[in-house]
């Protein structure tokens, strides 16, 4: 028994059945394809998919298209839904940082693209998340004069506040919040982007306009409304808090009623 276990650990051979979503393009209809894969529990989820793709290529079949870049949990491109959960079962983890030891030998794993009307499928597991870019463009910046950089410590910022702003700034724009939300709402993402600037003195200058513009753009992209289900917070690989959503609601209402700005 123990011997077998040790053997399994060293070789890490897991036999998995993958049900992968295949879709040629946004214009084509998609369907699930079943593949068997042997993986080691030390592999990351993406490495396991690499194994699948090697196999497909050697069989002269089209490999599964999935997005990836940094493979260290900071770029937010490795979007996919694993057994109904964006970025898989482990809390606070991107797909690239998810390891196969989270699964068991013999598991059947369903892999689907993020699904939302505002995130159309490009191919297989790859979706178009440029709606997020347009939300950022609408207000996710501060206007400063170029020139010599000011001393970072010249503006005093309370530690707690800078902590909150930093927490919000850890959002990697992956879109898991939208994928997880039964309403496909982008409130967690947008509120993180609003908060990380609006909480800081440099961002305060354009705070009212920022929240109005970014919410307006979010609505125009066709994302849903927030029912405060908190599925976003549960699935966010950076564990962004829904407190940010409350802050954005607050700031949106006060910017609309209490400033002379409009979206």
């Amino acid at each position: 028994m123990l011997k077998e276990k040790l053997k399994k650990m060293s070789h890490g051979n897991m036999n998995l059945t993958l049900k992968v979503w295949r879709q040629k393009s946004g214009q084509h209809k998609g369907n699930f394809e079943t593949h068997k894969v042997q993986a080691s529990e030390h592999m990351s989820f993406l490495e396991m998919l690499d194994v699948l793709n090697e196999k497909l290529i050697s069989e002269r079949k089209t490999p599964v298209a999935f997005e990836h870049d940094c493979r260290e949990g900071i770029c937010g491109s490795c979007s996919m839904v694993i057994n109904g959960q964006p970025h898989g079962p482990q809390r606070g983890t991107t797909t690239c940082q998810l390891h196969m030891r989270q699964f068991n030998d013999g598991d059947v794993i369903a892999i689907e693209p993020f699904r939302a009307a505002a995130f159309p499928v490009i191919k297989d597991l790859v979706v178009d998340r440029s709606a997020f870019d347009r939300i950022i463009q609408s207000g996710g910046y501060i206007s400063v004069n170029t020139g010599q950089a000011v001393d970072g410590n010249s503006i005093p910022i309370e530690k707690d506040l800078s902590g909150q702003a930093f927490d919000a700034a850890t959002c990697i724009g992956c879109g898991a919040c939208v994928a997880a939300c039964p309403n496909a709402s982008a409130m967690l993402f947008t509120s993180a982007k609003v908060s990380h600037l609006n909480l800081l003195p440099q961002g305060k200058v354009e705070a009212a306009q920022r929240v109005l513009s970014m919410v307006n753009q979010m609505d125009e992209e066709g994302f849903g409304m927030c029912s405060n289900i908190t599925a976003c917070e549960a699935e966010c690989p950076k564990e962004i808090s829904v407190d940010n959503i409350a802050r954005m609601n607050r700031e949106y209402i006060s910017a609309t009623l209490g400033s002379n700005k409009t979206a």
């Binding site: 049900k19 057994n83 109904g84 699904r115 994302f223 699935e235 954005m248």
Partner: protein, 230 residues
Amino acid sequence: MNWFTKFLTSSIGRKLIMSLTGLFLIVFLLVHLIGNLQLLIPDGGEAFNLYAKFMTTNPVIKFTSYGLYAFILLHAVQGWLLWAKNRKARGGQGYAVQATRATGTNAGIAKRMGALGTIVFIFLVIHMGQFWFKMKMGDLPVQIYDGVEVNDLYAPVKAAFSNIGFVLFYVISMLFIGMHLMHGFQSSFQTLGLNHQKYTPFIKFLGNAYAVLIPLGFALIPIIFFVKNM
């Protein structure tokens, strides 16, 4: 678009309407329950009938009640709109594996607010047809208290609640209202942006207590009537 219209049709503005009308309905439910508890006073319905007369004749209350009808409709219509828009935003294709996790509420309830609200709406229509409509249309027997004629609303209540079917209908409906409130109460505060490290735990506690106690109070009335009439 006018800035105010734009505000009220924005995602946050729509939710603001849900939240404010929802909170108004929450306050109403409490007042309604306190009033209805007079049904349990063993005086043959006098206190309750006088209260019902006051509620339907006092001009301030009459005015408020028109607001209430408008708010119920506004909450329901906006709720259905949100439901439709959110479905559309989700896109046609669902996930093969369903696994909604949540951190701050009951996900199963929270994602079904539209369906739960619709059940509550059907209940409200039947409930108002049964009692409110009778009171308004005046086809009720009358009682004389101190020489004044008063509609005897107590009589149809007593009659309805001696029927096990109605008792069950009311009790089960209260379960759905309770579920709607279990998520709705705390959600309305978050929608308004009222989220605070110090107060939110209390709001959640209060919301859960409210969602259990108020429907329970309402459900007890038909149960007590039924048992007394057995």
